[in-house]
Symmetry: C2
Subunit: 329 residues, 2 copies
């Protein structure tokens, strides 16, 4: 391996961008060259002030200073534009996570990356991402069987946003929890048919606006279509101090379980699980490891879009293939 | 993808070979062409009698009838010879599992496979294999942390053989069990330092020879160096009927847990676990899935030895990359 560090850039400095900066500092073979922002660069306070902040308008000009650019924008509005645009100048990594739109996004990034000789690994993280890898391996190894994905206990950003839009709600958060009975059945190899309601419950912690009617708010939340109506939902009313003190973290996690029968009918259960104190902290750690893989593909002369399903595990490690065989096989 | 099935051969017809035959039957895109044996082919009773049985001496002659040959021999005596020898005629898969000798074995197979334009994926299974992948991903994503591997509850072939060599023992089996307290500490993110004794216990079920002294046998087992002296070992004496009735299965499993801190110090725990009713049944299912990957690499013009760490997950699935992105990401 080349001994000069991989030069990393970050585009976007929210939770994910801050997490990526900290994750890069943990890696032995990477150096953070700078952070691109759409805000006024002078307004951005980085954890490490020696790292330069640039306007995103300089992206084209700085292409030779960076080996891999980690895109830390959101999937709804940022990445559909930034992904294809930045792939013309950079080898990129992103965490695009709108599952239904991945094929379309893949295609738009792939076209640009191919045309400009770059590599883009997209939809990187844990779901989509590590969970996808485990779903794939489960069904490839045990073709006869069923795959289950459970999420939680974890803070759901989308559902938290939804309860904050309910009239009478001043603030609040929502946690998704797996139903332990269902998880136990699956782990025991029973392969149950589970409805949405049987797999997860939802728990809300809500601060009411002065004078708001708690019963009315609760009713509005638990009957909300798409978000809560199909689940057993519990609503707790708390004060703003408690919300700040006990619910400021962003924990998450979950399980992918493949329960199947091998050729002679023996029950076999594979499980991958995550228990995360910080969802953005972990996601950015995954992004940074895949930045190493992207750079190796680029160096090897490959071009175009990839997902985690296309990446050999060895490409994620700073160790040589020979060291990996000796130490980890 | 080409729609003609991948033509698979099996070399060796013990537990693993029989498991591979059953696993191939579960795959939509594979066909078992024949089984090579060192025994008299006429003496072999296959589950499916329509599959031909050939002498291993015909291996060179039948090279054009088979796309991928799955080597189902043992790691101690069979594979060190068969691996390099058969790689001159075939693209191969094997489950070589003597961890310390993998680099040497890799090198000997790699030389032959390269010289003859074949691909060999070796040391495939769950440990080495799927556990290795998870150890790698854990340390690549969370470089600050500790990796723990626990095995069991599972039947250990090597330790069962060891107790059967003790004077006075007519028959017996040995199970390895993880210490639940240790597993719980690791899952909770405590990153304990664990001695060999603190991680696993060993449980033996022994049938005594007529007139043998149970106390003497127990003492000989629990003090046996390398195998039992470093563990808390329990010895149960049972009769031959009970052994046959309750201990004929080959269950196994275990956990790989990575407990680490992402960049801002948040505790993150990744876990991969297996709960297997049949160890050889599952191992052969893994071998068969990797046979698909080997054939794709061969078709793509690659040559030489590989391990699971070199294989992109998508190569294991019969589905196209586009279908995988749509269905599993």
């Amino acid at each position: 391996m080349d001994s000069s560090p991989i030069r990393i850039g970050i585009a976007g400095y929210g939770n994910l961008g801050r997490g990526a900066q900290a994750a890069i500092a943990q890696q032995p073979d990477m150096q953070l060259m700078g952070v691109f922002t759409r805000r006024n660069p002078a307004s951005l306070q980085l954890a490490d002030p020696s790292v330069p902040v640039w306007s995103i308008d300089e992206a084209a000009a700085r292409r030779d200073e960076i080996d891999v650019l980690i895109l830390c924008g959101g999937s709804k509005d940022d990445l559909p534009v930034q992904g294809p645009s930045l792939a013309q100048w950079y080898t990129t990594i992103d965490s695009f996570d709108t599952h239904a739109k991945i094929p379309e996004y893949f295609s738009s990034v792939d076209t640009v990356a191919r045309a400009h000789g770059n590599v883009s690994i997209l939809a990187v993280g844990w779901d989509p991402g590590l969970f996808s890898i485990n779903r794939l391996m489960g069904e490839a190894i045990l073709p006869q069987g069923a795959t289950y994905t459970f999420w939680g206990k974890g803070l759901s950003q989308g559902h938290s946003d939804a309860i904050r839009r309910v009239p009478g709600v001043a603030a609040g958060v929502q946690y998704t929890l797996p139903v332990q009975d269902a998880v136990n059945q699956v782990r025991a190899g029973q392969q149950p048919q589970l409805s949405t309601r049987q797999k997860h419950t939802r728990e809300c912690f809500v601060v009411l606006q002065p004078g708001a009617d708690g019963d009315q708010v609760r009713q509005a939340i638990v009957t909300m279509p798409n978000y809560f109506a199909d689940y057993d939902t519990t609503v707790h009313f708390i004060d703003a101090d408690t919300l700040h003190r006990e619910h400021s973290g962003m924990p998450h996690g979950g399980f992918v379980i493949r329960s199947g029968q091998s050729g002679h009918g023996d029950g076999q259960v594979m499980e991958f699980s995550l228990n995360l104190a910080s969802n953005p902290g972990f996601t950015s750690s995954v992004l940074v490891a895949y930045a190493r893989a992207a750079w190796r593909l680029k160096i090897a002369g490959e071009t175009g879009a990839r997902t985690v399903l296309d990446i050999a595990p060895g490409l994620l490690s700073p160790k040589s293939a020979a060291d990996l065989r000796r130490e980890l096989l």
